[in-house]
């Protein structure tokens, strides 16, 4: 036997008998396990609940009709729910589930908080060292789109930190435990598909402000506490009409009052769907394949406005027809197509948003 190996074995055995552990502390272990289970999202859940309650209280933007579950907020000055939010340290957007993204930031204090904005039906995983958080995006009881929160503690000021994050659909069974192994297992099992989500890391605390309007379709968007724009750089806005639809192959009409610039988002994530948006009921305004980003139609109007939307399977579109660039032809084809299709189950989301600020002149 190699002498060094022999020495090694003896040394390890000898050195590991140095102190008495006083027996296993089962209660401490179980308490720690329960704490792990609770800790990850307790802070986020509490904060989100407080934020939701506060956000629902302020009056809606000028001209915006009060609606149950529709969130809008003042633009400009930080309000009470965002006061504890620190400066944004980093952020990124992704257009794929099941694909890990890495975000590096440099702490300005020992604590930073993060927010993952994703559509309902997504589960987000965030890993920092051995800390793994997992939470579900969706709607809470106030109707607000859910944002997953968490925080990183024990940071060293000025020392860059990289965190890993990815999302998966909540349809996965038996979600892995919140451990580094669980993170790797979930990632290994995940299937990549188009879906838009983003993560923002702020110094200190974080609120639900500054979610990009193409993700938080119906909760509205506002600048963060420090006036930072949403990660997409889109004009902030709030929903005046919209909703979730559970059937495809049929038209759905939405009515709302807008003043000035407005937009319609249709979230029909996936590679197998196609969206049609009509101004009113007859004029086809947009015909686009669904993808990670929601289908978008921007317009200007004053007063009561009506938009009609339909989503169909892409493989139902007649081959050889131009459904995206020639809207006049597409309109006839779309009407003919829809009249021959039977409604099917399918989940998509529409939001008619009033812009709260002008679009950038360049865009």
């Amino acid at each position: 036997m190699n002498q060094t190996e022999h020495d090694l074995r003896e040394l390890l055995a000898e050195r590991s008998t140095g102190a008495s552990g006083g027996g296993a502390r089962l209660e401490e272990i179980l308490a720690r396990g329960r704490g792990m289970r609770r800790r990850r999202w307790a802070a986020g859940g509490t904060l989100a609940a407080v934020v939701a309650a506060l956000v629902l209280t302020p009056p809606l933007l000028s001209g915006g009709p009060a609606r149950d579950g529709v969130i809008a907020a003042r633009v400009g000055e930080p309000d009470s729910q965002t006061r504890g939010e620190g400066v944004r340290l980093a952020g990124l957007r992704s257009e794929s589930t099941g694909k890990v993204e890495r975000l590096t930031f440099t702490p300005k204090s020992e604590r930073a908080s993060y927010r993952v904005n994703c559509a309902a039906g997504s589960r987000a995983f965030v890993r920092y060292g051995d800390q793994v958080d997992a939470g579900v995006c969706g709607e809470d009881r106030q109707g607000q789109e859910w944002t997953a929160f968490g925080h990183f503690d024990g940071l060293t000021v000025g020392v860059p930190v990289t965190v890993e994050v990815f999302t998966v659909p909540t349809t996965i069974k038996d979600p892995p435990d919140e451990s580094s192994e669980g993170f790797d297992e979930a990632l290994a099992d995940a299937v990549r598909r188009p879906a838009l989500w983003e993560i923002a890391v702020h110094d200190g605390g974080i609120s639900d402000a500054a979610c990009s309007p193409d993700i938080c379709l119906d909760s509205g968007s506002r600048p963060a506490a420090k006036g930072e724009r949403n990660l997409a750089g889109l004009p902030d806005g709030h929903q005046v009409a919209g909703g979730h639809v559970t059937r495809i192959n049929e038209k759905h009409t939405f009515r709302g009052t807008v003043e000035g610039e407005a937009r319609v988002y249709v979230r029909c994530e996936g590679e197998d769907l196609h969206a049609f948006i009509w101004a009113g009921r007859a004029v086809l305004a947009k015909s686009v394949p669904c993808g990670a980003k929601p289908a978008l139609w921007e317009f200007v109007a004053n007063g009561p406005t009506e938009v009609t939307v339909a989503v169909v399977r892409r493989d139902r579109l007649p081959r050889g027809s131009d459904f995206t660039s020639d809207l006049q032809a597409a309109s006839k084809e779309a009407n003919r197509l829809l009249s021959g299709l039977r409604p099917e189950a399918g989940y998509w989301h529409v939001a008619l948003q009033q812009l709260d600020e002008p679009k950038p002149s360049a865009g």
Binding site: L11, S16, L30, G33, M36, V159, D177
Partner: protein, 163 residues
């Protein structure tokens, strides 16, 4: 007593010793074992058969992440040294202390391989299973670890000049 409680009662002390060899601090070792067992408890219903590989894997991975984090925090712009600092360990301290000190210079993963193989008496295949890597990777880590121990000034003196 539940199955998990039985496992903790039977295995806690051994796990604590392993954790100490990784962390070289008894308080940290206890913290590491409790963290690992708490995580194992969360996943207990999903563990098939012997829980040891799963628990050892959590211990190794958790230690590695703690190690990385401490390293980042304490020496953010430097790399760990590749060899000892050149002191004559045999003069300053005994052979065992020299070896113990040299082990302390190993990377977290190399130390895990050494501890699992030489203390836990795991085969390289078992070590690979615990660490979630290939046997080749374990061999490579072990080879580097042993080479590092052997080229250490103190160890070289001990194994060469004095024998």
């Amino acid at each position: 007593m539940t199955e998990f409680a039985e496992y903790v009662a039977q295995r806690h002390e051994r796990l604590r010793r392993t954790a100490y060899l990784l962390t070289r601090d008894w308080a940290t070792a206890e913290d590491l074992v409790q963290t690992a067992l708490a995580r194992a408890w969360l996943a207990w219903r999903r563990i098939d058969g012997d829980p040891d590989p799963y628990v050892y894997r959590i211990i190794a991975n958790t230690h590695a992440s703690w190690w990385r984090r401490r390293w980042r925090g304490e020496v953010p712009t430097e790399e760990m040294p590749d060899s000892g600092d050149g002191r004559d360990f045999t003069r300053e301290i005994g052979d065992r202390d020299a070896l113990w000190t040299a082990i302390g210079t190993l990377s977290g993963r190399q130390r895990a391989v050494v501890v699992l193989h030489y203390f836990e008496e795991m085969t390289l295949t078992q070590v690979a299973g615990v660490l979630g890597c290939s046997v080749g990777a374990v061999k490579s880590q072990l080879g580097r670890a042993l080479a590092r121990l052997r080229v250490d000034q103190g160890i070289r003196t001990m194994t060469g000049a004095e024998r």
